[in-house]
Symmetry: C2
Subunit: 258 residues, 2 copies
Amino acid sequence: MTFTSRTPRVVAARKLQRRRDRDQSGRFLAEGPQAVREALASGVVVELFATADAIEKHADLAAHAPVVSVVDDEALAGLADTVQPQGLVAVCEQVDVSLTDALAKRPRLVAVVAEIRDPGNAGTVLRTADAAGAGAVIFAGDAVDPYNGKCVRASAGSLFHVDVVRTPLDVVTPLREAGLQVLATSGYGADDLDTLADDGVLRQPTAWLFGSEAHGLPDDLLDGADRQVRVPIYGGAESLNLAAAAAVCLYSSARAQR
Amino acid sequence: MTFTSRTPRVVAARKLQRRRDRDQSGRFLAEGPQAVREALASGVVVELFATADAIEKHADLAAHAPVVSVVDDEALAGLADTVQPQGLVAVCEQVDVSLTDALAKRPRLVAVVAEIRDPGNAGTVLRTADAAGAGAVIFAGDAVDPYNGKCVRASAGSLFHVDVVRTPLDVVTPLREAGLQVLATSGYGADDLDTLADDGVLRQPTAWLFGSEAHGLPDDLLDGADRQVRVPIYGGAESLNLAAAAAVCLYSSARAQR
């Protein structure tokens, strides 16, 4: 039996494109072979919607899903967020953990995105933090939903690799209590990233705080952090974009902590 | 007199949203106060289209434009690429220079984007390269047009700070002849970025080659480069996105060259 866009299970899954429905159900959508593979490996797939063609092409993935529902092209397009969803959309259980649980593992590198609204930026930071070996990425305050379709896609599977945490803004104290120095990024920071690297400061377990490009970090986080750090600008640019700044900071820490 | 979307000068300017018309005319559009300010400082503005409100708000910019044409909201919206263009769109002369001219200045850091199609990615690399102190950014082969609206916006003014070059793909020899070591980025590179930094290799004048996320660098560039370099992956991610990888590589060079 092939489901159509009117089949109740498809209609219900499609609602997960809205944050309210994700929040209420504790589920989200992951689309495309890469994300579906990572979701399956994490054991969070509830149901895999796939076209007949995609099941044939990705038989290995279909074989590992607890439930596979065949959908027609229209139903799949309605579930997917992209123009070319490659035939696969999985309903997944949300994977985030509590701040306490994430910090109990004593991660040596943590990224905090505070009040970041752009899902593509947040997903890219998630991917970069994972690549740099961070144990956790914390979405603090009124940040984008990590299960937003664009964020899931930009994370390129990293949503399933690192501990994702959603918390209120006041994260500095618990981070410090978990043995992490707290470094706030700011274009006007008193400390220069390269100098901190030279002085060995980055060898310590570190939580990096990143704010939105438009507004920077909230004052409470800037003031509460151990240091305010700027990425040096060697040329004519006024600043780096968020994803680039996060890449430079997180990789400086990763390099120092090797 | 207020121009409307049917005024011939507005109609002609709007055509610059198309690559063909940009290529033919040697002009492009820059929108929003930041880009317009940088374009004015570079002396490349031919005509500034602005709403009456924007002229009042940005009187300093209007005062420095050779020609200011007042347009109604509809005409401005038609010229702009974004939903909130903030009332200003400038017609500019293209700023790119020849490879020979750019290399004659003996830059110590150069970024090459080869066959990169995504304008947002290309613009972000331009901005990051500028921040890292690169002297030139080279768009090689069948790459995105640097004057694409999205690229101009993502560059956040850096299009006007660094030497932008458009060339065919065979850039390795001229780069090397200009005293630059040529480092090709690749997920499978034999050399690890951190090891190169430790060994002092990054202190030398360097041209970094970046390929598209989907296809990587063309074989000719990979094979022709002095080294193939991978950014180390410390966590579960398969790779970094292009902008993040470029940020890590360019800043590693900037740090080593201080």
